[in-house]
Amino acid sequence: MTGTTTTTTTPKAPSADGAITEYVTTMIGGQLFGMPISRVQDVFMPERLTRVPLASSDVAGVLNLRGRIVTAIDMRSRLGLPKNDDGKPPMAVGVDLRGESYGLLIDSIGEVLKLADESREVNPVNLDPRMAKMADGVHRLDGQLMVVLDVDRILEISPDKLAA
């Protein structure tokens, strides 16, 4: 379990006027996304991913992270983006939900950005519905847009959506 960088979690700033949220930025399928740093446990290189037969196609598999079993979520599949074909190994953002660990598979990890909540804009109405479901607004950065991801909604994977 190499390549693990644990980020210190900071308490979520109250989203009052002038509040600032820190985001961990990631690239998935060429698009910049940001997740509130308060929800991110760590970032790691997923190794020895075991696929889970009969599971939802959004579940990339399970892996062992320091003795814990982590469920890896294929973010490209989850967001309705095409499969990664450049052969580069994915990275994973570790998050927790109700005592269980998940790893969100992303293409690459970026810097941590401090952004004011008031500069966040609502989802454009024509955003891809799959992405819109998990997006919690958009920040306009220099030269690109960062879609804010809602971790809870990412993990709302319905068991019925079985892989073909």
């Binding site: 020895r48 037969p53 003795g67 269980e100």
Partner: protein, 910 residues
Amino acid sequence: MDDLLREFLTETNESLDTVDNQLVRFEQDPNNAKILDNIFRLVHTIKGTCGFLGLPRLEALAHAAETLMGKFRDGMPVTGEAVTLILTTIDRIKEILGQLEATEVEPEGVDDDLINELHHMVEKGMESMTESAPPIAPEAPVVADAPLVVQTLERELRPGEVSLEELERAFQETAIEVAPPVAAAAPEPAAPVAPPAPVAEKPAAPKAAAPKPAAKKTAVEADQPEADKVANQSIRVNVDTLEHLMTMVSELVLTRNQLLEISRRHEDTEFKVPLQRLSTVTAELQDGVMKTRMQPIGNAWQKLPRIVRDLAGELGKQIELEMHGADTELDRQVLDLIKDPLTHMVRNSADHGLETPGERANAGKPEQGTIRLSAYHEGGHILICIADNGRGLNTERIKAKAIQNGLATEADIEKMSEAQIHKFIFAPGFSTAAAVTSVSGRGVGMDVVRTNIDQIGGTIDIKSVAGEGSSVTIKIPLTLAIVSALIVEAGGDRFAIPQLAVVELVRARANSEHRIERIKDTPVLRLRNKLLPLMHLKKLLQIDDGSSADPENGFIVVTQVGNQTFGIVVDGVFHTEEIVVKPMSTKLRHIGMFSGNTILGDGAVIMIVDPNGIAQELGALASNAHEIADENAAMRAMNAEQLTSLLVFRAGSTQPKAVPLGLVTRLEEVGVDKVELSNGRYMVQYRDQLMPLVQMEGVTVRTSGTQPILVFADDGRSMGLVVDEIVDIVEERLHIEVASGREGILGSAVIKGLATEVIDVGHFLPMAFADWFSRKEMRVSSTAQSVLLVDDSAFFRNMLSPVLKAAGYKVRVATNAQEGLTVLRSGQEFDVILTDIEMPDMNGFEFAETIRADQRLQATPIIALSAMISPAAIERGRLAGFHDYVAKFDRPGLIAALKEQTTEVVRQAA
């Protein structure tokens, strides 16, 4: 919640369970002063603590109950009525405690009803004591007076005070070696209550207690020290703490496994020795932590004496409950899971297994029935046995029910041993029908019990001797947290299969004894003369990479779940490993094929295959060739749509042929080298018998390879019908559209979109043995029952008459209802009339009504044969006077119904 309150709740609940038990024991053995002392002490502690914590309702109840028990100590006769009253009081206390636990405040309400009754009982007891026991009489008024005086003041407090005083004295005099905790608890609550109690009463009371102390002392002294020692040497630990400890040990086991794996790869390292040491210590630690989770099984039994007592009262039976090995320990997780099944089975034994005292006396048994619970360890498992000396299982009834439910055919059942038949009570849904419960009275929800046991990887077995009793043995693993598993490979991934379910491993290879064969697409394995249904793990898990070029090879993990045995085909088998079961992520828990996942020694995560899940899948596929006939029968019974299972094959021509599967005993492929020509006929040695082969028109026996045959067997004789190819098994509505003039063919029907010839089995049977039917008739001629078969369809007449003849009946056929009536009125006698419902001119209902109206024919049972089985049709049939209603093509059902009806006739005649 307040720590003090929580402690109180835990302790009180435990104490009350003990009181329940002790009271039941006390009722049986009223002279046992030690038991009474125990009860008294427990109730007193509860009362005292309640007072201390300010819980007036509980305190009042405990007071009143204690007062009554105090009278028992004073020699008041112990009546069942009084004990019931105390038990009811305890139930009420538990109820209040439950609410207290939920809301943290004592619920509102009054318990005057119970308290008054308790007082009343005390007074009644005192009266009877005054009459029967004059020596104690002087004291009686004193005590009896007290409540009277008090009533004007504070009703529920004063009576308690008196007995509290007595109690304190009794304690001081008798329980010299009282355990410190109890001693500490007792004075405390006494303090606020005691002062107002008149000291003057002291001298009076000792006399009341006096007769007993001597005897008591010895008993108390003998037992108390030991109990104290145990109490002092144990501490309460939060379950969460233990769970956490267990998790940590699991991690340690995993890490050790990883280290061992690494050391295996590097031959000569200096780590070897310390690693070995670490390994041993870890194993010991694992054992030790495991022990902390262990609880005596007696904890699961605690409520049983009370349940049995209440049941005995309700049912008017005398029941003794024996418990052996209550201190046998097992994992608390497992304990929780078996609590309910155990209670259920004890109830069953009391309710249905044991007879009423009258019945027992008639059977020459002691009036008191016994239920015996025992538990002991056996090689990593715990065995629990629930036995009763009641009437045993009703084998006949189970047989009939099994046939009715389509679990087995009449012929199958005849071959079965009693033990095998008894196992049917565990079959799913077997007992849901009320008929079995009310008539044979056994097996309520036994399938549910088995499901629970299956879930924890246990097995269940039943033994029964009619008239002597029955016993159920449950075998369960000691723990679920760490299990031994077989690591296998399928579709390039590794999976763990729990060893508990694995019976054996078979390596299947083409051209060897064990090879995977196929019936259409269903793979099977012939193993020791049994056909084992096979499931490919990678197909089940939908990870087939299509690489399997060799369908006849593979490793087969023979697995048993309940009484279902099947083979899981895997690509490879590695080794066995102690694995730590980790629950599946909630996002993956819906996958029934896995029971959890685990981390292997090399750090990889793998899925743990759930044999129960596979067994369910197997049941759902319902296409295992071995039990196909049975299962289809069951399906037919359930399916109002009346689909018929048909075996489709090719023989002689390209046109497919079909035969109702229910008529076929087995499908076989025999090597052509085994086919011999003898006396101008083809024969094959089959199961130590010479089986004649019959060829259909245009079919030639192959000269190489294997020859598929359909085997029809009956009464020890078998014949094989040579066919070219077995095509498929289909469920179809069988409707003969074009009748055939050709011998051996009943007609043509459309099956799966193809015109298919339906063959007439009756035509081929005599070709193998000329005496196939006549032999039967000769053998049974003296007792042969005669059947009138009325059906307008030639197909059914042709199909059913051989079936009936084969079952030993004389058959007369009629082509319509009118003809049937003519035959009946001609004076010919029949034991049973079998009739179709949908017939032109006069239908089956009218036919039955006409027969019922005829005085002479009235008594003859009539069985309806119909393709449409609906509750409404059955009701209509019952009104018309049918004795039974059987689905067409339900051969076992028909034979069973016939048997039932004809034996009834014989019985009536006798």
